[in-house]
Symmetry: C2
Subunit: 363 residues, 2 copies
Amino acid sequence: MANYITVSYDTLFAFTKAVFTHIGCNDADAFAASKALLSADIRGIDSHGVARLSGYIRLWQAGRVNATPHIQIIHETPSTATIDADGALGLVAAQQAMQLAIKKAKQCGTGWVAVGNSNHFGIAGYHAMLALEHDMIGIAMTNASALVAPTFGKEKMLGTNPIAVAIPAKTQPPFVADFATTTAANGKLEILQRKNEDTPFGWVQSADGTPSTDAHILKKNGALLPLGSDREHGSHKGYALGSIVDIFSAVFSGASYGPWAPPFPAYIPMPEDMPGTGLGHFIGAIRIDAFRPADAFLMHMDRWISRFRNTTPIDAQQPVIIPGDPERLMEAERLQHGIPIIETVMNDLNALATSLQLKPLSV
Amino acid sequence: MANYITVSYDTLFAFTKAVFTHIGCNDADAFAASKALLSADIRGIDSHGVARLSGYIRLWQAGRVNATPHIQIIHETPSTATIDADGALGLVAAQQAMQLAIKKAKQCGTGWVAVGNSNHFGIAGYHAMLALEHDMIGIAMTNASALVAPTFGKEKMLGTNPIAVAIPAKTQPPFVADFATTTAANGKLEILQRKNEDTPFGWVQSADGTPSTDAHILKKNGALLPLGSDREHGSHKGYALGSIVDIFSAVFSGASYGPWAPPFPAYIPMPEDMPGTGLGHFIGAIRIDAFRPADAFLMHMDRWISRFRNTTPIDAQQPVIIPGDPERLMEAERLQHGIPIIETVMNDLNALATSLQLKPLSV
């Protein structure tokens, strides 16, 4: 069994912010990047949080992340904009994009911002949820390094390309969907790798395109499968959905798309003949009073949520849940009792501290 | 084996338009409804075309479809609007919504229209593709009668709630995704029912929530499964996606949502305590020059499409396809050689003609 060390959110935040400050981020950006990154850890998506901090720093060391970017609007209509992130951390650029989308939604009802020349932005749900406090629905998606084979293909062509949609309610907690457009996200493979366990059929295929249960298959030229797993179970729908995310995030913004998306590991060379620059995101904000009075919308969301929560369950011990429920419960738990960090990640963070001449993470 | 009778598109169109005219639609509406309905037949989605014509007429006979609606805008911002369809055929109302979305996109970059108090609109792809000729991306979704159980539930709570996204390219044909947010659409069950065959596991569950392969299971209180089939293969993602379609289509517009969506078969009583009126749709249009110059966007879509088309295939005989390819090939074939109508549907159409004192479908 793996060992875990529990760290308080504040301790982890101070450490993370010190790391981002060290590479040259100004105070506001270091704060924003830490908030976005650690939202993954407190919401229980451990694969996307501090476990990736040293990966972000290696991208900076390789010159692929710009800690002092000049982020600017390069194209605009009343309800849309395109931002050149100038190689910024996606963690920072996506938040600026959402602020702009919110501003446009205030004027036009909706705001839509494509971000190019960016990097990984952490969990999509964090950025989408930023709209909630403005009485808006938030939408966030991003393309990512190619790990996924399209239906009938054996080549890796798409990232796990997540979509998040956050919708406020009146007395109920918000509806927050945040999911990769694959059957299983890469983080789930990493968990099985640590436990030396196989995946179920339908998550991955081997290099020649045959079904596989090997959790290490990506290192052997295998691929993740689109949501739906195989043609008979609708993988062409997951492939279409991942493609829409790729096009909205990268073709809109001038980022690099499909198999040319920049890799996250800094040691992997950049693809040749890239059709754009960096990764892309697509961010949207919709005013809740854009389609009907705000109070009617919120009241009906309450009714929608409570009706679905009360769906007759198959097993009385496992009620039907609303998207966002598990992450919200995890957030409450971890803010109070701390975040369990697996030993390998803890060692990685302290090695990072040493290499940057920062104080190690005190527990 | 089932018998098919091949009918030309023009013959089928004249017949369909005569039926819609008979119930009181004006010429423009009868034309628009026939175009939308038959787009399913020519694109090969036989379950959504003339096979449903008598179903639409029964809804009109039951007073649930208004052939002479007063469709009006009831809420508006610069980039959004809500339409009360006044009980119109969704086939007609969704097209008016797309015209309004296009008008708003011309002014604001994007236009988004929620439609309430509506009925079934045929295939989502038809409405989305209307934006293409205006150099826009089209988006269409709709809620529908509840046939789908959410993850962990045994109650039918959502419709097959399709999403369509149509994206133009320069020299390549457009990318047209159009898919139900379930593993398999109801039409696929109907095909198996006619052949007396079972479904694969992962398409449906029985009344108590256990996995089933019975193609007739919906008549036995069973349910369709969300895209992903089961929790282990991501059904919570399909459930989230179908929920987003339900909320955007019906909670935005004041239509009835979730298990309260009006049933398509006119003999099924309307649900009690409905939280809204009719079905809802959500329609969007995005100008291709809203995020970058139009020509750059179109050129990169060409590159995106040709790169994905050339993905290394698993089987050289089955290349990777682009969403919309099979339907476009089918359309070319059927416009030239006619549309095969299964004998039971032909008999149903001629019984409809007799009951309405119209000329039978001449072949």
